[in-house]
Amino acid sequence: MSDLTPEIKKVVEEKLIDTPPDVKDLFPTVLKQKNLSWITFRDENYIILSFLEGIEKDRIKRFTSNNYHPFPGLVVTEKTEQSAFHFENSFNIYLKGNKVRNAYSLSLGPDSTITLEDHHQTIKVKEFGNEIDYKISLAFIISFGEEIKEYNFSQYLKEIVSYSINQWRESYDH
């Protein structure tokens, strides 16, 4: 796997950090923090870029230091009825304010780009012996496939980020 961090950082800085204050007012609260924190998780199938608020940052540090997935139950790459949403070859999907309990949030096939905003996940986890719940303030999720490859990944990230910004601008206008 190539290191895509520099490309992700470039898009995040250009589109989401180096922005005028009046535009930031339109963005979700997590992006208005003075010191913005984010995490990227990737495997061979997909990448999650998630922006973090205080309590979530601590949880994720705890999980990743134990080699756990930072977002258990959020994504499954098999098609299953045990997931709240299924996407494949689906671009610029915008999901906001969903609460998923005891199911996977996303059954994620190839070539998809998704924005999650204010997403809540509750799921039973073996290692903890009980349910955990966590919130994703804002995340961009991109799955690889025939169309989205490592070499053109940043173009698709730019597209889903631009699409989301347009949604935020329109929400404000309306």
């Binding site: 990227t40 199911a103 347009n166």
Partner: protein, 224 residues
């Protein structure tokens, strides 16, 4: 948030029209995805114009916007875009092992370079778009669709590999240096889509999952 999908449907019809070159009609939809056509995130879009008249010809689409840098200083920037129809190809066969840009792509590149050069010296342009000489940028080229990446007789898999290679070469040695984007009309279409996916509310699992990712290869990076 709008739920009106009509613009998406209209552009889709124009793209699927096989017999006519429809770039002028398609240009009307660019105003709905302006954030994709500029670098960064501007505070305001100042002016956009299709078919801007220059001495060397009409430039297809120009958009200007107000940006703010880290110190709070405001700058206006203009981006020049050249459009070719969704019905155009991006590349064509050169040899069995190599593609070359289509005539339409070469024409678009040539027009883009000429217009850029002209507008940097044009007081009329700078006044219309309220920019200084050094704040005029290449936007890029919008041409074809993913169905028309290559006009060739290769097998599908080989064609896909050759397209990726040809595009990478062009980007690396020409486009990236000048900040030129190469987009297809599918990309614009995707920006217009308004979709509200329904949640599968009957999804339920009784068993516990493992907190481990189950992936052999994984990587986590923190940025603070």
């Amino acid at each position: 948030m709008t739920t009106d999908n009509s613009k998406h449907q209209e552009l889709k019809l124009l793209i699927e029209e096989s017999s006519k070159q429809k770039e002028r009609e398609c240009a009307k939809y660019l105003e709905h995805c302006k954030d994709l056509l500029v670098t960064g995130t501007p505070s305001e879009f100042i002016h956009q114009e299709a078919e801007y008249r220059g001495n060397k010809g009409d430039s297809d689409y120009i958009i200007s916007c107000k940006t703010t840098d880290g110190t709070g200083d405001e700058t206006n920037k203009a981006y020049i875009w050249e459009l070719k129809a969704p019905q155009c190809y991006l590349f064509k066969e050169d040899t069995k092992q190599r593609l070359m840009p289509s005539d339409d792509l070469v024409k678009a590149e040539n027009q883009l370079f000429h217009y850029y050069h002209e507008y940097r010296g044009s007081d009329d342009f700078k006044s219309t778009f309220d920019v200084h000489t050094n704040d005029i940028y290449f936007g890029g080229i919008i041409i074809g669709t993913k169905e028309r990446y290559v006009d060739g007789t290769y097998k599908k898999k080989k064609q896909s590999t050759m397209y990726s290679h040809a595009k990478m070469i062009r980007k690396r040695y020409i486009y990236r240096i000048h900040g030129i984007e190469l987009l297809t009309w599918d990309t614009i279409l995707k920006q217009l889509k308004v979709e509200k996916p329904e949640m599968n509310k009957s999804a339920k699992m009784e068993e516990e999952i493992s907190a481990h990712s189950g992936s052999a290869q994984q990587n986590t990076d923190f940025h603070e």
